[in-house]
Symmetry: C2
Subunit: 151 residues, 2 copies
DNA sequence: CCAATTTGTTAGTAGAGCATACAATTTGGC
DNA sequence: GCCAAATTGTATGCTCTACTAACAAATTGG
């Protein structure tokens, strides 16, 4: 019954049965990646979401908010707040779409492009910190498995 | 252009070069797991963190807040807000530790135990939703790789 | 042409995370 | 034993992300 009192030297935090929960490991891994991301981007002052949005808008100028949101799995309201923040910082601007008056077309400003370039440098260093612990094959397998989760 | 237009979830959202970023996939996977978690736990009204805390306190009655926080990678302030919320709902209680007057020892209440039991049922169904897409070996490998990230 | 849908917007709520400051307690150096 | 430093808990305030609900404007379809 019960478990022996933990007297072992293991510095690694014991999490008991939680260790068998896949979702738990995904959450912890995400947290670790998140924290390193924030550290890497403390100078730029950009969050993961903001960088993703800059990246996607840079990739596909004129994309609508709804399209942007759907590709990053954000709802309309969440997309709004992030686009608002980037617009306030003058990294991107909205334009009414000509084809569809309901849509806003999003474009990077000049400083938006500059910020994205800087961000891509940070992403590179962040990614190598992350990927360092895996072989090329493992990364491929990991990405494939993660994709099966988020589809 | 093999993809049919459909109203289902699986509209292959193009994310371009972002597709090569491992951190991005971790974030998307986490988001997908999180959303399914919330859905699964909408009846119980518990969050991932709250369940993790209930689980750990149930596993190790008398654990201190600092210990709890360190095992779930939360700082003291964050741990406080979560413990406060669970205490307000009378799922757990604090007791001044006898060995170390600085510490609070945490214990599940009766309804805390009940909530944890319910939660474990939900976790099981949530986990099988998640694990369904993998073989046993893949799960093992995935957990091992995720552990390398969060150590 | 009118009703339904899509898209954007605003406002409000909530969880999680972090920084800072402070109080109580314990620990360690002397 | 005593005092300074470290540990733990607490309180406050801020930010980011995410969701809901309601509403307006534009488009689409029957």
């Amino acid at each position: 019954m019960g478990k022996p009192a933990l007297t072992e030297s293991k510095e690694n935090a014991e999490i008991g049965a939680l260790d068998g929960i896949l979702g738990f490991h995904i959450r912890l891994a995400h947290g670790a990646v998140y924290r390193h991301f924030v550290e890497t981007f403390s100078d730029l002052g950009l969050t993961q979401k903001q960088v993703s949005v800059l990246w996607l808008v840079g990739d596909q100028q004129g994309i609508s908010q709804i399209e942007l949101g759907s590709r990053l799995h954000m709802d309309r309201a969440t997309t709004m707040t992030i686009v608002n923040r980037l617009q306030d910082r003058e990294y991107l601007r909205r334009e009414r779409s000509e084809e569809d008056g309901r849509k806003q077309a999003l474009f990077l400003t000049t400083s938006g492009h500059a910020a994205l370039e800087e961000a891509k440098q940070c992403i590179a260093s962040h990614e190598s910190w992350l990927k360092n612990r895996f072989t090329r094959q493992e990364i491929e397998k990991l990405v494939e498995m993660l994709t099966r989760i988020h589809e």
